[in-house]
Each structure stands twice: as structure tokens, then as C-alpha cells.
């Protein structure tokens, strides 16, 4: 990455950070009447591992297609290394893509698959072979070079697909749900390998997934998208700790954040929440200007199971008990039809039907206004 990108002057958002690999400026994509992407602006610095996270059909794969040139943006600009590429053919864009189903050419051997991009660029035979072997060694697939894709396991195919991307030496990799076809164990393993791969090659990776665990564990930054609109961009921790709205709050984190609706009122000691539970929030939040009805969010791990004395008056009946090994997740019904997911250590002995006393710390809760937007905390 010796080449310094030349950032066009008229582009204001590009001036504050000088080195972006990929930049989208107000990109909108319509299919007929249907708006798939709405005003997407995104700047990806070099070497970043950026994850696009969102439910299926939110348009995250379309973003990759627009960057790679397989789809055209209806509006907006796409820059790769500072160059406007809206009208540049996919093969000239210097980005490589790994598809969800790997899209390996079934009639070619692993070696031909990996070498195909170079073959298309008329690289000489022996040089091509050398590079193929080099890439295969790096990905530890050099013993499969003569096999066909259908003779390989999911993880091996995944690596071949990566190899085919890697051999082009692109400035960015676009990965479209690359782990979704693997079984759970392999997924965790490949996750680590992808991270190592990123560290070793030091290139920008744009990674699309609907799996929030993948996003949290791998990303430098996460972009959360819903129905073609960016909800929040931030570091995994930031997104988890300070979700900007109820969508992000419930989408990130497993099990989901508990959300209960109620109203807040001002008292002498700050805000009081009243709903299925009553909770004094202290001076953390200001009274929302628009409407006193709010949603209160509490993560399952922020609720503690305590004795009567320590609880803040929240009592419930334990419903479903899910032991997942390290932890146990409880459904605690605190009111008719209102229940909390509570995360307790696996060592706690709780049974269905038990009465549970809960403690919720005001400092742990999230508050969202009637539009679902986060109510800012008072510093």
C-alpha cells in the first residue's frame, strides 16, 4: 500500500481523515419503487475491519455489490482509494469479494480457481503457478490444489474462496456472510483464522453478517443497518454500551436487552420511572421534552438475583430456565405478560416456579424516548 490516495478536494467529509480505502457518499439504491439503501455515507480507513450488521434483507449485501460494481448506485458516489468509481467496471476496482456460497467454479480445480483472476489478467504461466502455490501455502490448502470444489469441506472451500480473493492483492476485501454456511464449531475456528488473516495481510476488510456475535468479536467498527438506513456506527463496545435506539439495543446482545415501556416523571431527586416496575433513575437522565412515555432497557446481565433485603422491590416468578453451560438464562415474569430475561451464573440453583427478587441498578439502565431514540445521559 505504497500509493497515497488523492482525496478529491470538493469532498468535504474526506478531509478530516486523510486515508480512506473506501468511501460512500450519500448512496441511495432503488429497485423500482423500492428503496433498498437510503443515504448511506460511510468512510472506511485503510486496514480497518468493518462489519456491516443487520437483519436479512436490510441492504447490507447490496452495499458490497455497489462497492464492487456488481450493482450501480441510484444516487451518490463511491470512492475507492480516493478515486470516484461509479462508472468504473468491477474488474478495475481493485476490490475482491468472497461470496456467501463461495461461488467457486465447480468445473475447475482448486489451483485453477485460485489462479483464475490472474489468468484473466494474462499473467504468465509459471508466475501464475508460483503465486497460486504461495497463496495456497499461506492458507494451508496447498495439498488440495488438484481437487475440485465438491471434494472439499466447507472450511476448505472457504479458504479457496479467500485464496482467489487474496491472489489479486486487492486493497480491500468484501466478505458477504462468509461463515454462515459453516457449522457452529468451524464458524468459531474460521472467525479466529479470519482475524489472523486480517492481521497478517493488513488490508481493509468489509464484512457483512447478520450474526451479532461475529460482529462483536471481529469488528474494529460495526455499522448497524435497518431497512437500508444506517442506525449506528461505532466500536463494538460502544454499540453495546450506548445503543442509539431501541433497534440497536435489541439487535446487539444475546439474549436481547429487556425493554419495558412506562412513563417518567420529575421528582426532587431526579427522574422516576413508572411502568410494570418502579425505579428511581436519579439524575442520570433529563426529562424528555416531547413526551414522558419512554422505554426502559436493561441487559439480562445487569439484573441481579438477590435476597429480599437487597432487592429494589421487584419480585417475579421464574418461568423458563435455560442452562447454556457457563450461564443460565431465566425468564422472570414480573407482571402480567411482562417478563425479564435475567442472566445468572450457572452455579445458581433456580427452578421453574421459584419466586425471585431482582435488583436493577439505575446506573445500568438505558432510556429511550417515545420515538425509540436514546435519551442522552447528563454528564
Amino acid at each position: 500500500m505504497s500509493m497515497k490516495p488523492s482525496i478529491p478536494n470538493q469532498d468535504q467529509s474526506a478531509q478530516d481523515v486523510p486515508d480512506f480505502t473506501i468511501e460512500l457518499v450519500e448512496v441511495t439504491k432503488r429497485f423500482g419503487e423500492n428503496i433498498v439503501l437510503h443515504d448511506i455515507s460511510l468512510a472506511i480507513p485503510s486496514n480497518e475491519f468493518l462489519v456491516l450488521l443487520g437483519p436479512s434483507g436490510c441492504g447490507k449485501s447490496t452495499i458490497l455489490k455497489i462497492i464492487s460494481g456488481l450493482e450501480d448506485a441510484t444516487q451518490g458516489e463511491v470512492y475507492i482509494h480516493g478515486r470516484l468509481v461509479n462508472y468504473v467496471a468491477p474488474k478495475e476496482r481493485d476490490v475482491a469479494m468472497v461470496f456467501q456460497n463461495y461461488a467457486l467454479y465447480p468445473h475447475m480445480t482448486v489451483a485453477r480457481n485460485i489462479g483464475f483472476p490472474l489468468e484473466m489478467r494474462h499473467v504468465r504461466k509459471n508466475e501464475l503457478h508460483e503465486k497460486v502455490v504461495g497463496v495456497a501455502r499461506l492458507l494451508e490448502i496447498d495439498s488440495f490444489l488438484d481437487k475440485f470444489p465438491d471434494q472439499l469441506s466447507g472450511g476448505q472451500r472457504q479458504r479457496v474462496a479467500l485464496g482467489r480473493a487474496l491472489i489479486r492483492d486487492p486493497i480491500a476485501f468484501l466478505l458477504d456472510e462468509p461463515l454462515s454456511n459453516l457449522d457452529a464449531l468451524l464458524r468459531v475456528q474460521m472467525r479466529d483464522e479470519l482475524l489472523k488473516f486480517h492481521r497478517r495481510i493488513g488490508r481493509t476488510i468489509l464484512y457483512v453478517t447478520h450474526d451479532q456475535v461475529e460482529a462483536m468479536t471481529m469488528a474494529d467498527r460495526i455499522v448497524i443497518i435497518k431497512l437500508g438506513v444506517i442506525q449506528q456506527i461505532g466500536k463494538p463496545k460502544e454499540v453495546y454500551m450506548r445503543p442509539v435506539n431501541t433497534f440497536v439495543a435489541t439487535f446487539v446482545g444475546s439474549p436481547q436487552m429487556n425493554l419495558i415501556s412506562g412513563t417518567v416523571s420529575e421528582t426532587g431527586e431526579g427522574l422516576d420511572f413508572a411502568g410494570p416496575i418502579k425505579l428511581s433513575l436519579g439524575k442520570r437522565f433529563k426529562l424528555p421534552a416531547k413526551s414522558p412515555s419512554v422505554s426502559l432497557g436493561i441487559r439480562p446481565e445487569d439484573i441481579a438475583l438477590v435476597g429480599v433485603a437487597e432487592s429494589n422491590g421487584i419480585v417475579g416468578k421464574v418461568g423458563l430456565v435455560e442452562a447454556v453451560g457457563s450461564d443460565t438464562f431465566l425468564d422472570v415474569e414480573i407482571d402480567d405478560g411482562v417478563s425479564f430475561k435475567v442472566r445468572v451464573p450457572a452455579t445458581d440453583r433456580i427452578h421453574e416456579g421459584d419466586h425471585a427478587h431482582l435488583r436493577i441498578m439505575a446506573s445500568d439502565v438505558h432510556l429511550f424516548d417515545s420515538d425509540g431514540l436514546r435519551i442522552a445521559e447528563v454528564d
Binding site: L70, M97, F99, H107, P117, M120
Partner: protein, 301 residues
């Protein structure tokens, strides 16, 4: 009964009971009597299928005057080679074979080329009017050939192509069934394959040639065999379009040997036997691909 020991003792006992009830015989294995009966039925079927061939070969080796003698001789003696002699010396039979092969191979090759291209375009490319155009193309299937025979004749005559190879090669190319077949086959290939190739630096034609064509090979074999076969046997159109002796194909050429008052079945039969030779060779050569092609539907995507 796929049960394993891991599932506990009872299922295993169940398995053994089942085995005792039905004996140790494998599925699909029949008793000796059943085998004998099925073989007998198959042999009869084979005889019924082979008899006409044998009759034709036998007839081709008889002199005309012995054709209708009673009781018929299945194996003529002495063997009479005059009918074959007639074919190879009195009429340009070799030329007819050449014409037939030239036309059939050309039509097959051109059809495979155009139909895969059109199929690729209809399956994968976006262009205005695509659906309408496709319906138009397919709608031509509904027009019986008899209905266009005469207009086609005038058209070909107007272009001055009567009695040429063009007259035989061009009209069959318009048959849309191959486009339909190729379109459905190419449609079933995942879009990401072309997208990957596009990113890897392939042009649209390279995608067609390097990615699509190798993957639709089974469908091409099916279409190729069907087209070749149809062309090889075609009679009506060549009969209309060709009148000069040298331009005949085998089917129409043999038909010209029908006299005004007599029909020499010996010569007809010899022609039929000779007509079988090239197509037999063709099938033997393509046998393996043909079987692979007919199994294409069973392939995992």
C-alpha cells in the same frame, strides 16, 4: 433400518427380528425363479425390438424377385449384394451421406452455439423487453411446421437458396426449443458464479465461454443429440427444398429410388441399413456424455 448400537439395546433387537423375518437377502435381490421370469420377459422384448432391424438387413441382402416368396427366408442364401452395389454405383449415395452429415453437424454446432448464447442472455442478462421477447420466441413453438412449409419455401426461393446447403441448414436453426432448454438450465446456475468471474476480470463473453459453457455441458449433450437426430431423419423440408440429385440428403435420396410403377424394397432396405451406420457411430462416440446428460437433472447444484 439404519440403527446403530449407540441407540441402546432394544432397537438392535428390533433390527435382528426384522432380519429374521425377511431373511438375509438384500433389497433388490430376487429369487432364482423371479430372475428367470424377468430375464425371459426382457429377452422377448429385445427380440421384438430387434426383429425389424433384422428384417431390414435380411431384405437388403435379397434380390427383389425373392422378396415376397413364401415361406419367407430369414437368412437369404446366397447373399445378394446387388442392392448395395446399386446404391454405391448408380446413385451418388456417398454424396448423400456426406450431405446429411454436413447438414446435421452444421445445424447441431450452430444451434448449440446460438442457443447457449441466447439462453445465457435470457437467463442472466437484463435488457428491456426481455420477457416479451422470450414469450415471442417460445410462441413460435405453437406453429406447426406444416403451416409454415409453403411460406418458408417461397422465402428460401426468394433468397435464391433452393438446392443449396443453406436451405437445409438455416431454417432448422430457428427452432426455439433449444433456447428454452438452455435458458432454464443456465437460470439454475447461481448468479454469484458470474459475479465472481466478473470481479475476477472476465468479460461477458469470457463468462459465457469459461464459466457457463462448461457447466451446461450436460444440457448441451442432450440438445446436441436431439438436434442431430432430428436433423438426420428430417425428410419433409429437404424434400421440398432440394430437387437436384447431388444435393439430396439420405432420406430424400433413398426416396427418389422409388419408381413410378415398382418400389424396389431391396434398395430401400440397403439404404436404411447404410443410414444406420453413421448414426450408430455417432451414438457410440457420445454414449458416455449422453448418459451423463440424461442424468443431469440428478446433479447436485
Amino acid at each position: 433400518m439404519r440403527r446403530t448400537n449407540t441407540q441402546g439395546a432394544r432397537p438392535v433387537t428390533g433390527n435382528q427380528t426384522m432380519r429374521r423375518m425377511f431373511g438375509a437377502r438384500r433389497v433388490g435381490q430376487a429369487g432364482p425363479l423371479l430372475t428367470a421370469i424377468s430375464y425371459a420377459i426382457l429377452i422377448v422384448a429385445v427380440l421384438i425390438a430387434l426383429l425389424p432391424f433384422f428384417y431390414i438387413v435380411s431384405t437388403s441382402l435379397k434380390e427383389s424377385k425373392f422378396l415376397f416368396e413364401y415361406p419367407p427366408k430369414w437368412i437369404p442364401s446366397p447373399l445378394y449384394w446387388g442392392n448395395y452395389f446399386h446404391l454405391f454405383t448408380r446413385v451418388p449415395f456417398m454424396r448423400w451421406i456426406f450431405n446429411t452429415l454436413l447438414v446435421s453437424i452444421s445445424v447441431t454446432a450452430l444451434k448449440l452455439f446460438f442457443d447457449t448464447l441466447a439462453g445465457y442472455a435470457f437467463a442472466k442478462m437484463q435488457f428491456p423487453g426481455k420477457e416479451v421477447l422470450f414469450v415471442f420466441v417460445i410462441a413460435t413453438l405453437m406453429i406447426p411446421f406444416a403451416a409454415i412449409l409453403i411460406p418458408l419455401y417461397f422465402m428460401v426461393r426468394g433468397m435464391g437458396m433452393l438446392n443449396t446447403y443453406w436451405a437445409l441448414i438455416l431454417p432448422p436453426l430457428a427452432n426455439p426449443i433449444g433456447i428454452f432448454l438452455m435458458r432454464s438450465f443456465i437460470e439454475s446456475l447461481p448468479n454469484d458464479l458470474e459475479n465472481a468471474a466478473r470481479l475476477d476480470g472476465s468479460s461477458e463473453f469470457t463468462i459465457y465461454r469459461r464459466i457457463i459453457l462448461p457447466l451446461v455441458k450436460p444440457a448441451m449433450v442432450v440438445l446436441g443429440v436431439l438436434t442431430f437426430n432430428l436433423q438426420y431423419q428430417s425428410f419433409l423440408w429437404p424434400l421440398v427444398a432440394i430437387s437436384s440429385t447431388d444435393m439430396h440428403v439420405m432420406t430424400t435420396g433413398i426416396a427418389t429410388q422409388r419408381g413410378i410403377t415398382v418400389i424396389d424394397y431391396g434398395v430401400f432396405s440397403a439404404g436404411a441399413v447404410m443410414a444406420m451406420v453413421p448414426i450408430t457411430i455417432f451414438f457410440l462416440l457420445l454414449q458416455r456424455q449422453w448418459i451423463a446428460g440424461s442424468l443431469a437433472g440428478a446433479l447436485k447444484q
